[in-house]
């Protein structure tokens, strides 16, 4: 009896809370899991947007970028999402082809190393892929993939089939070397200690000393410098250029909150959003905030050349590049 009373009370409270919440419109944002974690950008961005939208932001998280896209494609036109945040340009062609994303109509000022004309997606952050190493353990570092393959250095990489950085590396080598990509992979085979399911496992193995370098971002050393006061981590600059990861947001065509979604799409490139990015996502903001970048970002390696495949090209080349990768590393 007592229990059922408690249960009734609980249900009533929940219903009351739901009723209060219902007075405000809810903007549902689909994103990847690390974005919404207590250590990611999510909480600060939710607070900032809610402070003057008279709405409630509701994040729904789904693994990583690829899992996010899979979820959108599965749900199709009746997805409750209003905004999707966290695809990268290697995935946007599939999202665009699904017809689920509507034009954003924005013309933001951006600080990207490449020109941006995508009518469906607005970038919110970006980074260069790079091999990160420990300066206290490794003296001289290779200046390109061929030198890396010829070196004795051991590296950990992510699997392109289960991880977006892994896919980025695959396209990096393909974009830089074209038809020679398979040879590069064959040369790298004896440098690769192992291939992990995701970035976290690879970075963890590197920090535990299992490899001399790991595929990560040029911005990774900023975390160690700013959060840990450790300046031993650095990225290797490669002469053939560095592939970009550009993370984007898009408005769903079937949103039931089109005005709020538009407002959020404009908010994405505002200072309030952008200033949160560097020290939570550890990437470059898509538009440098008024206050500039945090100290420490100035010490980072800046590649001479940025590589990026157009989304359609990334999509069409992906399968062939994967087959080359698989064959070369299975010898």
């Amino acid at each position: 009896m007592k229990q059922s009373l408690m249960l009734a009370g609980f249900l009533a409270t929940t219903a009351a809370c739901a009723a209060v919440a219902q007075e405000k419109p809810v903007l549902t944002i689909y994103t990847y899991d690390s974005f919404v974690s207590d250590w990611g950008p999510g909480p600060a961005i939710k607070t900032a947007f809610e402070s003057d939208c008279a709405c409630e932001v509701r994040f729904v998280s789904a693994g990583d970028g690829a899992a996010l896209l899979a979820r959108l494609l599965i749900e199709g036109a009746d997805s409750p999402a209003d905004v999707v945040l966290g695809l990268d340009t290697n995935l946007t062609a599939d999202a665009a082809a699904s017809g689920l994303v509507a034009p954003h109509g924005q013309t933001p000022d951006l600080d990207l190393p490449v020109a941006w004309t995508d009518p469906l997606f607005v970038p919110y952050d970006w980074g260069y892929f790079a091999f990160v190493y420990d300066r206290s353990k490794t003296g001289s570092v290779p200046a390109d993939f061929e030198a890396l393959a010829a070196s004795e250095l051991k590296i950990v990489i992510e699997d392109p089939r289960s991880s977006t950085p892994g896919l980025g590396l695959l396209l990096w080598v393909k974009e830089a070397y074209g038809d020679r990509a398979a040879d590069i992979w064959a040369g790298l085979a004896d440098n690769i200690v192992t291939v992990t399911p995701g970035w976290s496992e690879a970075y963890g193995l590197f920090l535990n000393g299992e490899a001399d370098a790991v595929l990560s971002y040029t911005t990774s050393p900023a975390y160690h410098l700013i959060a840990e006061g450790d300046d031993t981590k650095a990225a290797m600059p490669f002469d053939e250029g560095h592939y970009l990861q550009v993370e984007v947001a898009g408005k769903l065509a079937n949103t039931d909150q089109p005005e709020l979604a538009d407002r959020f799409m404009a908010f994405v490139t505002s200072d309030a959003f952008q200033q949160v990015i560097p020290e939570t996502n550890w990437m470059y903001p898509a538009r440098t905030p008024e206050a500039g970048l945090p100290e420490g970002f100035g010490t980072l390696v800046t590649p001479q050349k940025a590589l990026l495949l157009a989304p359609e090209d990334a999509r069409s080349i992906r399968e062939k590049a994967l087959a080359e990768w698989q064959t070369a590393l299975s010898q």
């Binding site: 250590w39 749900e75 399911p197």
Partner: protein, 523 residues
Amino acid sequence: MADRPQPIARTLALGGAPAALLVALTLGTLVAVLARARGFSAIGPADLAAIRFTLWQASLSALLSALLAIPAARALARRRFPGRALLIALLGAPFILPVIVAVIGLLAIFGRAGVLNQGIVALGLPPVSIYGLNGVVLAHVFFNLPLAIRLLLQAWLAIPAERFRLAASLGMGPAEVARFLERPMLRETLPGVFVAVFLICLTSFAVALTLGGGPRATTVELAIYQAFRFDFDLGRAALLASVQVALCIVASAMVLRLAAPSALGAGLDRSVARWDAAGGWLRAQDAIVLGLAAMFLIAPLAAVAIRGLPALAGLPAPVWHAAGRSLAVACGSAMLTIGIALPLVLAIARARPGLARLLETLAMLPLATSALVLGTGLFLILRPLADPATLALPITACTNAVLALPFALRILLPAARTVEADFGRLADSLGMAGWTRLRLITLPRLARPLRFAGGLAAALSMGDLGVIALFADPDGATLPLQLYRLMAAYRMEDAAGAALLLLVLSFTLFWLIDKGGRPDAPT
């Protein structure tokens, strides 16, 4: 196996509901994915290579785990020494760790920068690499040897004390005891142990990938990932998942046919004394076996503990909140597991042989179920009914319970069959049925395996990342998910602290349920 098999209707009344839940969560979710895909799509040569590698590594891992478990379980069964109960409990720990934690612990010992290689290099020898098939098998044995030991130990301790008494009075030595008592028991138990480990390794994903060294070590589960996330091809994912299920059914059916019931007969529940194992050489042999097994299993755990200790006290609040949620999910999952497993096991123990084998095979299905397909299927089924995020924790508890069921079944079934064989006739002739029979006959004799199964289910649930990653709302993270979030935010030291917290909580929960909080409880 009962002497008087029951009518099918009565078996179904008892075991029907648990079996239906099982089928819904395993085959039902697969059908949901298939329905969304509108049919299978073809699998390629790379997928066939993945199937071959998966079978090969799973067979090797299962064979090694089962064989290595024999001497260790025998030593634990016939020796009494201070710390034995603690050792047995600690042996359960690798099994319940989240994969990435266990892998990092293993690498601290066997990795390129691990203790072993530091020793080898100090001796002036070239370092050994564990990445490749050997690493995959090593990790799978690390995960599953403890389970194999525990399952065999249960069976060893279930040999009635009277048999050893009789053997001693007939002057049998260790060889004769092995031949007449232990081998029949192994013949009954070992195939089940083998198939359990084989099926666990069949769906291996993160271990095989991380330690496999590259795409050579591609498993079926990884191919499913690729189909889902790289090719967005649900049809191929469903086909590959069906291959896993088919392999599971074939393997279980083959092995269950092999497993002959032992004919040791009834005992009087006396405590076991082992006159045959008093020799000095046997003592030394057992000591060495146990020492090696303990070192192999405990050293990586010690590495996890040492890495995690500095950050443990200062863990951020969200980690503690997640720990609370995980404890609640684990307790719910343990109760659900027992609630499903007990009727199912009793139904199997009393059923006709054919029906019993069918139910037993069904109960192995969760082991061969792809976590990704299960999660996605469940999502597709539930989405029209409710917001999946609001159901995240109950769904996690329920899925974990079903995933723990195969283990609970392997633990409970031998004991349940013994109870039926030994006391079934007596109970029938006294007209005992229902609750009275459960209370007076079944539960007292199943208490030990029930506690073990409950503890294992709780601990497994504690460490499982599984479906929560697909369903979680941002504020409802469990401890394993929080651990991954810490890693994704570069906070590897806090993640190590969270890993230790997870290890300690899982282990404590397991210990409390298994032993009922009594350190001297029989094992």
